[in-house]
Symmetry: C2
Subunit: 484 residues, 2 copies
Amino acid sequence: MKRSRPIQIDWQPDKKSQLPVYRQIVQYVCDKVANGEWAIGSRLPSQRALAESFAVNRSTISTAIDELTSYGIISGEHGAGTQIVSNTWSLMLPTSLSWKKYISSGYLQENNKRMQQINRLEFAPDIIRLGTGELDPRLFPQQMWAKTLQKLSTEITSLGYAEPLGIPELRQAIARHMKKLGVDVSTKNILITSGALQALQLIASCMLEEGSTVFTEAPTYLKSLQMFQSAGLNLNGIPMDHDGLKYWEIEKQLKKSDSAILYTIPTNQNPTGITMSNLRRQELMDFCIKNRLPIIEDGAYQELCFDDEAAIPLKAIDDNGMVMYLGSASKSLAPGLRIGWVIASEPVIQRLGDAKMQMDYGASSLSQLVFAEFLNSGMYEKYLTELKVELKKRRDNALVTLDKYFKDIATWNVPVGGFYIWLTFNDEVEIDGLFEKAIDQGILLNPGDVYDFKHNRSLRLSFAYVDCGEFTSAMMMLNEILKS
Amino acid sequence: MKRSRPIQIDWQPDKKSQLPVYRQIVQYVCDKVANGEWAIGSRLPSQRALAESFAVNRSTISTAIDELTSYGIISGEHGAGTQIVSNTWSLMLPTSLSWKKYISSGYLQENNKRMQQINRLEFAPDIIRLGTGELDPRLFPQQMWAKTLQKLSTEITSLGYAEPLGIPELRQAIARHMKKLGVDVSTKNILITSGALQALQLIASCMLEEGSTVFTEAPTYLKSLQMFQSAGLNLNGIPMDHDGLKYWEIEKQLKKSDSAILYTIPTNQNPTGITMSNLRRQELMDFCIKNRLPIIEDGAYQELCFDDEAAIPLKAIDDNGMVMYLGSASKSLAPGLRIGWVIASEPVIQRLGDAKMQMDYGASSLSQLVFAEFLNSGMYEKYLTELKVELKKRRDNALVTLDKYFKDIATWNVPVGGFYIWLTFNDEVEIDGLFEKAIDQGILLNPGDVYDFKHNRSLRLSFAYVDCGEFTSAMMMLNEILKS
């Protein structure tokens, strides 16, 4: 029995961490108990001794002790010492080692810290969000929205459980909508999801074996999520040129992988803004057919091509059912609706639909009805037309601004649509320092590193969230910072 | 090389199955290829020979062959024979053996077939749904709904990504609402989910180790889902008496389990309608504290107690943070909103919130805003009062009907709220036969077996979906069937 074994403390909280010090101490104790280092019956040092060991003040220790006591991990009279009394509750705590890998691992990886910081800073007041992957709220089609809700206010007479694949009206509307993009499918090939992110989650958790390889563009926004990595999948970044993914680079790596899939954003890629040429698309399809490599095509920015002759989706030239197409209302209309869709062969849709029912019993019927009405009334198409005019104006302004202030120190691409410009500095720039200094000036940047497989000296700029004036003045400030 | 190995067929499709025959054949072939029995290069018999082996007609074979060809599994000229050419695509198919257990296992268990059949029959026209766990759509508060949507039509001016835990307005409104039920918590203890089902999914997938025991009432609606079993958790049914769960029966089984949790619906339990007495609640809490057994309290029917002196939630007497309370708008208002909530200690909420962000990036903001408006305007409370009057009327009618037609052949409880009456026949009744005969008469039953751990001779009756006249006439018909 280890009942009286004295506990040794050889650790101190990180006072610079985002996590409050008392919480770090709670985590530390939970870890020690959960992994068995501190057995039930072990005695903690006195609060005074703990305060000394951790180099914190007594009130912090007191807060941590109270929390640990409330979890039932420790128990004891003040002064008389405190004992470890249980580790049952460890399963309820955020640091338990027993939590499934796919949840816990995601938040332990380094680059996610930066993403969490960015996500938090996005809610700071008056910050200029120069890289945000979200539409300017001022572009929200409030008039159309009001009209839609007013119509539905009398039309909706009940809201029961919806069909597993999504409400028929919306699936029909999406089938018609996709036809205009060149994709001709029936409603049986369509599953409604809570955003395209959920579609990725469904695919990762029920269609890919642990250890499978996911080929994808390098850089890719997928790298900034932890979803695929957390599911035990290996991301393998493939470089791009101006025409998109250099698919031939896949071949030699394909042989090493038993099971593989390709994830691509061929149109207005996130984060580079590159759109794959139509020739490259055809070559890529041929390559994937030859190599039996299935494709996840993320079409989040598909409908945001500024010119008339838009790139056609891979799904439109997919005669072999190789492609799962992901659509979304999040980038082109409003992420808060949480509406996305998957287009795939029927058995795949059935399987994903089963999984979705187990996850959350379907997407909000209200959101589904709203988006169906947007599509069916023709308002969505009208809105998209206007939106693209505005985004194009912002892109043009961005290019003029870059030309004026960054020509000598950086290069960038000219996107044909979407949200993003990928800016790369000619010389090595200390991006972390730039990020911090920009924050001090009220500018939030999205450093390229969080999207890439290796270090780079790039920034993801977005002209979608800020207006022309904001973009220009923020870039001028950035230029000043770089000069100093 | 097995290139020319002839394939042996020793199986035939089940023509009585719900699955189309051609689909069964596709699955059969996929299984054989996926598990390696039929190697790449193997030759399939001719279509004529296949039709004979499977005892189906040629057109069925042709359909199956076309589908398999489109997947890239087989290839070949008609007449010249067909070869297995790939098993890469097996990872995309519903029968792949490699799919994760928690998705595929769920739909392979026997009792789920009955549930699937019930779910399907619920959409049949003119069927009387005598056991449905859903509110009558005719009770939908259309006036309040119209008012809410009209208000929001002008108030909503954008719909961006919401905060991870849910929009603050809704969490504040739920905190105020829960206070009326005796549960006093801050917004940091509240996570908004896409229905209570998603809350269960989040708990199952990120807070419980595989192999953990989930104690729960027997019978319980949890048995009709596959979620917990699919996550590798062991359901352990504990019997009830009129005061609810006989918690003392847990003790001897607790010793066998390293890691365990209790799932309970203390108020208007699904499917029995039993409400735990307040004395039993206090005893249960004491027992769980003593044994460090955390509790998931499902409060889906908590707000549907007909009398003024309603049962108080376990969460209201939870001084030790042992209870995760699940709330939902699905049973009391509308399942199509997909709004539920979890109330728990802060670290648990943070962990579940992280998991939720990985799953779908939060619930629909629109649904959240609608429910917040319902709560804040006072409409929800007014609606609940009226709803309970109507449900009580229906319950009373149900009891009168049962007394008149079933007194001599069955027993039942008197629920103090909720949707359900649990009817048990005195003598053994062939429930499967009764189910089928009732279907012929246009009546859909929910047999007790799907909710129980062992065979029973009970039915879950619901007075929530059908009105008084429908209930009475359906029960009269059922009585006739039983007599014949």
